[in-house]
């Protein structure tokens, strides 16, 4: 996939510009420029909505938290599918194990433990996810790619059914409530939201923006997810560029080759599977403390496919693509929520406003399905396929002559192992 992208998307002009003026904007590919412009417009829209009061600040931060969560899930899947080419359809299971690990340790209605500090929940959730990853990985990672997809989807359903039906451990379909915020029991942060004063910011006279306790606790959640996302991004970036990451990419493009080079591919696949699963579980832990309620519905296979859409849309193998895709999926998910609140003017005078007769749930499904089909049809490598991020910038030899205007990019970048 990456091959097609590197020579397909970079028109000669882009390189020519980079040669004359090594400015940041000029060095971007067309797709990158589009994404930057899109993000700029989207941010402007959000700011406008915030200022005019169309979007409550606490809700806005909740969405940012969700976007961070999807970015984490996409990172996890990217470490499996993007790096190594493992078709893991059990994302929801690892997400659910993370969420349930955190909820069962810290939630007040937890039937087995409950009331522990959320840090213990985090540790337990990660350990449980690692164990589950090994249990699912042992039988499935030897399988052919399409069998792996089916088998992992089946095992994820087994996990969901166990969580749904083992009521004495998980409360079954009632779910677990009473989950504290992640910072419960921390020195300063546990009381931070209550301690902060309620602020009132007036940008437009008449519609002040209120910053209350819910805003400050949402701000803490965003800080938490940003920390998770930042750490995962850094770890994955290092891992991707390391010799270890290069073996994974070799396995993805040609497993027999990797084996011929003396690599134990099964062991490498298992490592990448566990690494990705841990990041997915981290997203689950965050979700439990964001939503403060978990139920078996969170393990529905649709969660898995949302994350797949994010990774495919962003560009398989690219971490910033995964980040972008995660944000986009949350926009689709949360944006469709407002569909049935849309008011459409009917008639001329007097004008009446009626609600569109749209049920958001199937619309969301339709949109996700159409996005999958369109991406696979028109841009199977994703919007932001991996490019420069694959190599150390310093490893590009500056003394080599710049590529001629008609030249191809990868000869300069030394990016031959993709």
């Amino acid at each position: 996939m990456a091959d097609a992208s590197t020579d397909g998307d970079v028109p000669p002009e882009a390189d020519a510009d980079a040669e004359d003026d090594p400015g940041y904007w000029a060095s971007l590919t067309v797709a990158e420029k589009g994404v930057v412009a899109f993000i700029g417009l989207f941010a402007a829209l959000l700011v406008a909505l915030l200022v005019t009061g169309g979007l409550g600040p606490a809700y806005f931060l909740y969405i940012v938290g969700l976007a961070g969560m999807y970015a984490l899930l996409s990172f996890g899947l990217n470490a499996q599918w993007g790096f190594t080419g493992l078709i893991n359809f059990s994302v929801a299971a690892f997400f659910g194990i993370g969420a349930y690990g955190a909820a069962l340790m810290s939630g007040s209605t937890s039937p087995i433990a409950g009331g522990f500090n959320p840090m213990y929940g985090l540790v337990v959730a990660l350990v449980a996810a690692a164990v589950l990853a090994v249990i699912i990985g042992i039988p499935t990672l030897r399988l052919r790619a399409d069998y792996l997809a089916i088998a992992s989807l089946g095992l994820a359903e087994v996990v969901r059914l166990v969580i749904l039906n083992q009521r004495e451990w998980t409360n079954g379909s009632a779910g677990v409530r009473g989950i504290p915020s992640f910072f419960e029991g921390w020195p300063v942060l546990s009381t931070f939201p209550e301690a902060m004063p309620g602020l009132e910011i007036v940008v437009i006279p008449g519609s002040p923006i209120l910053l209350e306790t819910s805003f400050w606790s949402a701000l803490l959640n965003v800080a938490l997810v940003l920390a998770f996302v930042g750490v995962s991004y850094f770890v994955l970036k290092r891992a991707h560029r390391s010799p270890w990451g290069r073996v994974l990419r070799t396995i993805r493009s040609d497993e027999d080759l990797a084996r011929a080079l003396g690599k134990n591919t099964y062991s490498f696949k298992m490592q990448s599977f566990v690494l990705g699963s841990l990041i997915m579980a981290l997203a689950g832990v965050f979700y439990a403390h964001l939503n403060l309620f978990v139920s078996p519905g969170d393990l529905d296979p649709i969660t898995t496919f949302y994350v797949w859409v994010a990774v495919i849309l962003g560009g398989s193998g690219s971490n910033r693509g995964a980040l972008f895709g995660g944000v986009l999926v949350v926009t689709i998910r949360e944006g469709t929520r407002f569909l049935n609140e849309l008011q459409v003017p009917v008639g001329i005078s007097p004008v009446r406003f009626v609600e569109l007769p749209i049920d958001p749930a199937p619309m969301r499904l339709l949109l996700i399905g159409v996005v999958i089909i369109l991406v696979m049809r028109f841009r199977p490598q994703g919007v932001l396929p991996p490019q420069r991020e694959l190599i150390w910038p310093s490893s590009v030899d500056e003394s080599t002559p710049k590529t001629p205007k008609s030249g191809v990019r990868e000869s300069k970048a030394g990016d031959t192992d993709e």
Binding site: I87, P139, T140, R142, L143, R144, A145, D146, Y147, A149, I150, A151, L153, G154, L155, E157, V158, L161, V162, L164, N165, Q166, E168, F305, W308, I312, D359, A361, P362, M363, L365, L366, I368, G369, V370, V371, I372, I373, M376, R377, P380
Partner: protein
Amino acid sequence: MPLLEYLANGLVFSSIIVLGSIGLSLIYSIAGFANFAHGDTMTVGAYAALVTFGTVGGLGGAVLGLPYGFFVALLVGLSAAVVVALVTERFVYKPLDVGSIGLLITSIGVAFVYRAVVQIRFGADFTRYGIQAVRPIEALVPYGIRVTVHDVAIVISAFVLVAGLHVLLQHTDLGRKMRAMADNPDLARVSGIRTNRIKLLAWVIGAGLAGAGGVFLGLFNQLAPRMGFNLLLLIFAAVILGGIGSVYGAMLGGFLIGMINQLTPILSDIRLLTDFGAYLPYVPDSVGITIGIEYANAIAFVIMVAVLLVRPNGIAGEAV
């Protein structure tokens, strides 16, 4: 004796699974990818039959407790599934150039589109065909078997369809070409078989049987937009158990998976796992899993993974 009842139910459920798994296996081997939209093709068939039955419902007399109108609806449901699948093949799968994994991922998108359209039109709730429910057949009740004439109709219709496919595959030129192509597409092509036509035929047969299976599933249980997707993994389990690419393997696999699924209640009588905590140190005695009816699907999935590990070519495929 509940065992007989479970076996009878298993036979009915198996018929539906078999109809689904034959098509999935055919498409897997001839079109070359795992079609995740196959379950939702069944849903399309079921809802097309629902609409048709709503208009022609009271038509004429009745066979096996089913009005003639139902059989018209069955044909319409079958045809609707075929048309939808052919349109999808022509406008979605055919222009793609992404390999079998890309096609697999695309088929998930297709599945969502089918399900979303059904849900937008009919809502997410359960519905039923407007057919009067019938009492279990009196003659069998003393033996503990509670099956209705509708169940008998499902089994007979499925048998007729499967037998028809058998005749087509074994005794016609077209069938020979299909088997050749399932075996080795390249060899089939160089020996002069128009592989594109055979591929279309595989879609027609596969989607048609799936549509019929969906109609029967709606009669056996209820209709819901998720009905097909929920069945999809069971069908995959059946196909893998039987051996991908083998139509007869899919029949056998479908039969076994359907039977195992309906026989699960027997397992809850075996109290082996219910208190394994008692045998382990440091684990509370109450810890254990009762394998009840709620784990019927889970058992099929575990069998599927086990088959993939031990004998990836399935019971009817060649051993590795």
